[in-house]
């Protein structure tokens, strides 16, 4: 199943409603009237796109409608899709999988409960499928049984794992993982971190330290810092992204839980403001439920009637 299929499957229920809304507001009319603004606003705001980005997206559409450059529903939707794609397009697409620096160190960060550990399991599977060797670092030494959870994933996808005891220094785990990757000649080291709210200064400092310690083994590592965002999160995700960007820098975003009814529209302002690409979306709990992100498909998923 492709990204769009899975995404759409989840969207189906809400999408029908949106489609109905759009249809009643637009299709019945031969010409599009002022109500278009409200309908589009509803679609975008309910997708968590946020007030600012929504206004920006709608503004030019409404202008074009009033200048009669957009005459029917299809034209409006196409124009809107185009704008969403523009907003999601950054200078370079994600090369998370194709980054061939060796060993590639991938540090995975995010707030609590977004699905970091599960995402790491799936990501490891992707690298292994490409024929790369992977080692996982269980540096979430805080949450109860987080280490066990990652261990189960390591067994499932059949890769190495470095762990210390619960409550130990996460920087030490990260250091050992990268060291092990170097000495064992492993291609990719993926490091799990404890979920932390971006407002907790001491925990953010700990992350900063982890990054510093990793760079002591390999100067340019971690070459990849992946921010995991939960699609069900609203406007706060923008604050999360900005804070993590400030502390660790972010190279890629993975948007999880897109198999529900949430659409994760907050990535629009995030991608635009941070200029960081979305690499993958998570659409389920199975190993293969991590799918490359495609801005056009995403936009289509949002608006297709």
């Amino acid at each position: 199943m492709g990204f769009l299929d899975k995404f759409k499957k989840g969207l189906k229920k809400t999408q029908n409603r949106i489609a109905e809304g759009l249809a009643t507001a637009l299709l019945g009319e031969k010409e599009i009237d002022d109500s278009i603004e409200e309908v589009l606003e509803e679609v975008l705001l309910e997708a968590d796109v946020g007030v600012e980005a929504t206004e920006e997206l709608i503004e030019s559409i409404v202008e074009k409608v009033s200048r009669r450059q957009l005459k029917d529903l299809q034209a409006v939707l196409n124009a809107l899709k185009g704008q969403v794609v523009d907003m999601l397009s950054v200078s370079e697409r994600s090369h998370l999988l194709e980054d061939n620096r060796k060993p590639l160190v991938v540090l995975v960060v995010g707030v609590n409960g977004v699905g970091k550990t599960t995402t790491i399991g799936k990501l490891a599977k992707k690298y292994i499928k490409m024929g790369k060797t992977v080692i996982l670092g269980a540096a979430d030494t805080f949450r109860a049984a987080a280490i066990e959870q990652l261990e189960i994933w390591a067994k499932k996808v059949n890769c190495d794992l470095v762990k210390h005891k619960e409550g130990s220094d996460p920087s030490a785990v990260a250091f050992d993982t990268v060291k092990a990757a170097v000495s064992r000649g492993i291609d990719v080291a993926i490091i799990d971190t404890a979920g932390r709210l971006h407002t907790k200064e001491n925990l953010m400092k700990q992350l900063e330290k982890m990054k510093r310690v990793i760079s002591k083994v390999i100067t340019d590592a971690p070459q990849r810092v992946v921010l995991v965002l939960d699609a069900t999160n609203g406007q706060n995700a923008l604050n999360q992204a900005k804070e993590f960007q400030k502390i660790t820098g972010i190279t890629d975003i993975i948007l999880t839980k897109l198999d529900g009814t949430a659409k994760g529209g907050i990535i629009l302002p995030i991608v635009r403001q941070l200029n960081v690409p979305v690499a993958f979306v998570g659409v389920g709990e199975k190993e293969d439920d991590l799918i490359p992100f495609d801005p056009e498909e995403y936009a289509r998923g949002l608006f297709e009637v």
Binding site: L45, A146, N236, Q240
Partner: protein
């Protein structure tokens, strides 16, 4: 932020000159500001629409009181309406010590069910109950292990599921064992699931039918966006929810999801999770949540906390001193000591409106710094503490040596003490909103540290 929102509203009202009443015409722009504030707080779009139209009705024709300007008046109406929707008063659990109570925790993945289960167990233990935790999440790797660790941390027993991997029979067996062994609360931690996953939703329903829970708590992440209405409505449709637990409220999310969930389910929000530690779990207070959604900061909590630790008589005496301009370094030390009693600075700061916006606020006011300030004051002679003006260069050096802090810090403390004295005189102005304005000034001068 409160200031920001009231400022915006005041501006909106100012455009219409000589406003004495809120009218159809002059309410339009303020309503738009409220609408934006709610949307930015993640309140669901449709609920915002309905809510603002209710507010409009309530506000129209309201007399603008003398004490408040139209902007403030409007915020008050909005705030009251928010509190009304969120639930007038906080509601607890309906448990009876003499029977086996069953609590079921349900929600989406990652919303914080397992942690909340542990927190709830600890909370109930403190209330004299005997809870047992039941791991019914057989899907997520290591979820069972996680609950075991949590149980150990809060010192509550965890039901041993043996080889059983069927959540329904696990729940049944656990309730039976609780009855046999005399536990009076069974907390069932179910697996996170999507509300559109029919099969897993049916599983919950079957558990519910078998064990007939006294409480079914829907756990929702305070950072949740527009989708909160859909998941909450779906869980509420399938299960007779009795309440909501709002988690991760220790971040900076405004938590509009609380309003959305309350609106669509009508079920009270019973608890909030406010930290990583297991005792950081509180009853829900609608008025505080309303302030937070509007971006007003948790002023009430702060006041309450202050009341807890500040001796009333001492406070009154201090008030008099401030008015008479007799506030001394001894009083300052007393204040600092009380401040440390209120808990960590990080928490306190989080409750002051606008503080989260100030760069380095936390750095300015960390707990160590307070200890340093107290040390400096301790190194002064009683005479110096009562009359700071006699502290000359020589005395400053001695105080620095005595406290182990650099002279600059002594200087800084004295300078700020003088500023603070001035400020406090102004703060003794009885109007609360006057105080709010002064908070703004305090912020600019980095109260009370640099």
């Amino acid at each position: 932020m409160f200031d920001q929102l009231t400022d915006k509203l005041n501006n909106a009202f100012r455009k219409i000159k000589g406003v004495a009443r809120i009218t159809e015409r002059n309410i339009e722009e303020p309503l738009r500001e409220i609408r934006m504030a709610l949307l930015e707080a993640d309140v669901n779009y449709r609920i915002v629409k309905e809510f603002t139209s209710n507010v409009k009705e309530k506000a129209l024709g309201a007399d603008v009181s003398k004490a408040l300007n139209p902007g403030q008046q409007f915020v008050k109406i909005v705030h009251e309406e928010l509190v009304r929707v969120l639930g007038e008063k906080s509601e607890g659990l309906k448990l009876e010590p003499k029977k086996t109570n069953v609590i079921m925790m349900v929600g989406l993945q990652g919303s914080g069910k397992t942690t909340s289960s542990g927190k709830l167990a600890l909370y109930l233990k403190k209330k004299g109950f005997f809870p047992i935790l039941v791991p019914a999440d057989v899907y997520r790797p290591a979820a069972i292990e996680q609950l075991k660790v949590v149980g150990k941390a809060v010192n509550a027993p965890v039901f041993d599921i043996g080889e059983d991997r069927n959540p329904i029979s696990i729940a049944e067996k656990a309730v039976k064992e609780a009855m046999d062994k005399g536990f009076n609360v069974v907390i069932i931690d179910t697996a996170g699931r999507l509300h559109i996953d029919d099969e897993l939703m049916k599983e919950l329903k079957r558990i519910e039918e078998k064990v007939k829970p006294d409480e079914i708590l829907f756990t929702v992440d305070a950072m949740t966006g527009q989708d909160a209405v859909k998941s909450a409505a779906a869980f509420d449709r399938e299960l007779p929810l009795t309440g909501v637990v709002l988690t991760k409220l220790d971040g900076d999310a405004r938590g509009g999801a609380a309003l959305s969930v309350k609106y669509v389910t009508g079920k009270p929000i019973k608890f909030v999770g406010i930290g990583e530690k297991y005792d950081e779990f509180e009853q829900f207070y609608p008025d505080r949540m309303a302030s937070r959604i509007l971006g007003m900061g948790d002023v009430l909590s702060l006041i309450e906390k202050a009341e807890e630790v500040v001796d009333k008589k001492k406070a009154e005496a201090l008030q008099k001193k401030i008015k008479k301009d007799q506030f001394t370094l001894e009083d300052f030390r007393e204040q600092l000591l009380q401040l440390t009693k209120m808990g960590s600075m990080e928490k306190i700061l989080g409750m002051i409106p606008g503080m989260s916006q100030i760069k380095n606020a936390k750095k300015m006011m960390d707990d160590k710094k307070i200890a340093h300030l107290i040390a400096i004051i301790n190194s002064m002679t009683p005479e110096e503490r009562r009359n700071h003006q006699i502290i000359n260069g020589k005395r400053r050096k001695r105080i620095a040596r005595g406290s182990g802090r650099p002279v600059q810090e002594v200087n800084q403390l004295l300078k700020q003490f003088v500023q603070m004295k001035k400020m406090m005189k102004q703060l003794s102005n009885p109007s609360f909103l006057g105080k709010m304005k002064n908070l703004k000034k305090l912020r600019n001068m980095n109260f009370p540290f640099q």
